[in-house]
Amino acid sequence: MIPFFKKYKTLLIILFAVILSGCKEPTYPTGKVEESIRKLCKDEYKLDNVKTKIIGSTLGVYIPIEGLVDPDLKLNEKAGKKIEDVALSIHRVITSTNELLKFYALVARDTKASGAEFILTGFVYDVIRVRLYDISRGEYFQRILRDFRFNAGIAGEQKIRELFSALNQNPALAENLKSIFYPVYIIGKKDTQKIEITDIESKELSDHESLFYVKAVEDYEVSPGFEAYTAIFPPGFNNEYLVLIDFALLNSPIKEIIPKYFYLNNEIRQRNLKDTFDQYQDTGFIGIDGFPKKDLDLGWFLSQQISRRIKSIFEEDKKLKKKFSVASSQGEIKDGVFQFKFSITPDASKPGDEKIIFSRIMKMSGAVLHLYRFEGYKNVEFINTAGTEKKINISKQDLESLRKDKIKIDSLF
């Protein structure tokens, strides 16, 4: 061995030097991820309005972009370039850090068109795998969640703020809505009332409905004869409202406003709005601030990915596209059960169509869950809501057997 080292000592020294040059700490160490992304965007792409936030193991990146959407409601080319630059910066940082990150969510929001936003959600390990050529670029693109949508929360908040502002400026409107905005427009002197929003929380109930929990400070000068009310509602008291906004109602999207206080049977009563608000499930994952509302998990990520893949199967396969129409596809995971609801209709109903639909979707789902080695579920429910609802509930083991062609789809019908 020693003669070998002597003979090749120059080569070994060079090799050692090259290998030693790699023994440095990660380029973006723990605690410097957020700052590094902002710095990269600023220094290399001249984007100085990028905001970052880490929620658990999820990295949130927010960038407001003026003109994100073109008049034809398509993503603006320049804006798309900016999103690419930020995404590249995120990829560079998340692959060269020792911070324990699992997901990233990039939100680009239009500063003009209220509520228009582009969301890119990805799994960090997928980014590494595509760079190691462990998965193809095509597969990688199927694994990213891309949403170009209208955020009902943002648009709803704007509507609420407009309404509260109008109340302060338009006495006629206030007069009309005085029973809703109880009691300030009843006990206050005319033109002295002022409602100021102090906080808004929102929940997306569907892709067009949002629920808002609004806190406000209300000021007024008491009208003669109502002085006794000041004991309960002193000027500058705190009030609360629940506002339901539905953008399906194009002209007047504010569907309902529920105040905390109301007058019934000659007495002032109050509701616990916070509890009511909390009872509703939030279907959205991006908050008003542009960051994820909570730490993302693999179960949720896979439910979203599979629901998108269900759509793409029937839209990208030429044969299937000719035979079937996809109206919608949604996915969620709750208590270890995946539920995929989709609406797929055969164009000319033939026997066996249902089998094709479920067979393709179930095999694809099984393959995706297998590729991610995801074990955190017990059952999967596939529901086709088109026509007479058809539902298949399959266990993890059966899904795996189906994937391996050990069982036939017929046995599941």
Binding site: A17, V18, S21, T27, S96, R131
Partner: protein, 542 residues
Amino acid sequence: MPSITYRKFRMHLMEHWVKIIIAFTIIILIILSIWGMMSLESFYRNLTIAQMPISILLAGLNAGIFVFMYMIFLQGGFTKIKQTTIKGENVNIHWDDVIGMDEAKQEALEVVELIKDRTKLLKIGGKILRGLLMVGPPGCGKTYLAKAIATEANIPFISMSGSEFTEIFVGVGAARVRKLFKKARTLAYGHGASIIFIDELDAIGRQRSFSFMGGGQETNSTQNQLLVEMDGLKEKDYNIIIIGATNAAEGILDEALLRPGRFDRKIYIDRPNLEEREKVFAYYLKKVKYDSDVDIGRLARQAVHKSPAEIENMIKEAALIATRKEKESVGHKELSEAMERIDMGLKHRKHMTKEEKEMVAFHETGHLVTMYMLHPTDDVFKASIISRKEALGVVHHQPREELYTNNREKLLADIKVNIGGYVAEKIKFGTTSDGVAMDFRNAMWKAHNMVWRVGMGDAGYVGDYTIIPESQISESLKEKLNAETDKIMQACMKDTEAILKKEWVIVERFVKELLEKEELEYDQIEAIFREYGKGHNFKKSG
């Protein structure tokens, strides 16, 4: 004039510029690689390091395939030559190692002086030596002498064989000559001088032939390039000495090569004479263990016309024989056997009848006794009745010293020795065998030559009658000349018969010894003759 250190440095640059550029590029690339690695983001850095083993493996594999293809298809390029460049001090063959060619050595010493004192020579306007041609038979130490010149002059030495220039493709040889001289010029620049040694010069130095079919074009172009380069030396003033070695006769080499200014000086390296052979034997015997009674003088006499290489080979062969016999040192017997093996071939015993064997013994004794008693120049070294090749027996004899002419007495003695075998057979058995055919052929050829060509007949015919066209020689003259030849043969026969009959006791003694021992060595032969008061008196060499 730049200093020798600077010149050596420049020479190295000139000689190794490609290697230097490659090394420099590699160093830069390594620095850039390390720098690049350090500036990579940790993910790509780790990726690069992880891929390093497979990258090295693939690079090695690619390089291997490339080298393989290069070797297979290009064979390193047609003009690639195997030049062996050795620094003078590394050749390590000194004057003292050159033995057995005193005259050649003396001349070579002058050459060394000329190389060393070139500046002095230039000052006094002397002619600079450019080429030195060593001519002589193979194995006489031409290469050895050239190496000794390189060592003594302490200058680099490039050695090539003439055959290395020849190639089927026209122009390749010439390109090789150009490369060789380029290399020599670079070395001469750095070291002050250099020697090019071309062995077997005749391979490229033969007289040029001009054929309209284009045959010999390659040899011509190679030689032309050699001539041009040798002339070129004068213009550039490089101190390069070309030493050519050949065993071809002078007439074979092209005249242009031999004219002054090219191979100015010729050294004839001939086979060593007796004294030189003794030195050669002494030199090579020193390298093996040998018995103290080995007579170097006798060995030298025995090895007439042997080259130093043959003598070296003989001693090596003797050492092998001694080893086979499990002897600790080489004795005269082994040396004799080795010489016999080289000269006469291996023994192989044929099964002969007792009568046949007796006849062979008388035949060989006839040669032996006639030679010993009558021959003026040759000594008998061995007599044997063991068959070798086609001969059933042999009497090995050598001249006591190099003789370059034959007088009448020697030729007559040769004839008598030749027919000695026939005479012995006839005296003993009253009949003869056909084993005499070759003896008669030799004897007749000598007698015929004596009369027809060199005027040694008794009748006074002087001149070379063989050059006269046969049609112009009269039948009577032919008859007379042939009668003269016959007369010589008859006279020799008579003399031989007389001597053998006179010494018949000795003949019978030798026959008895040969039948018993099959072979008799010089000492044994000498002892028997001494027994009968006929011994020669050669002193043992010290």
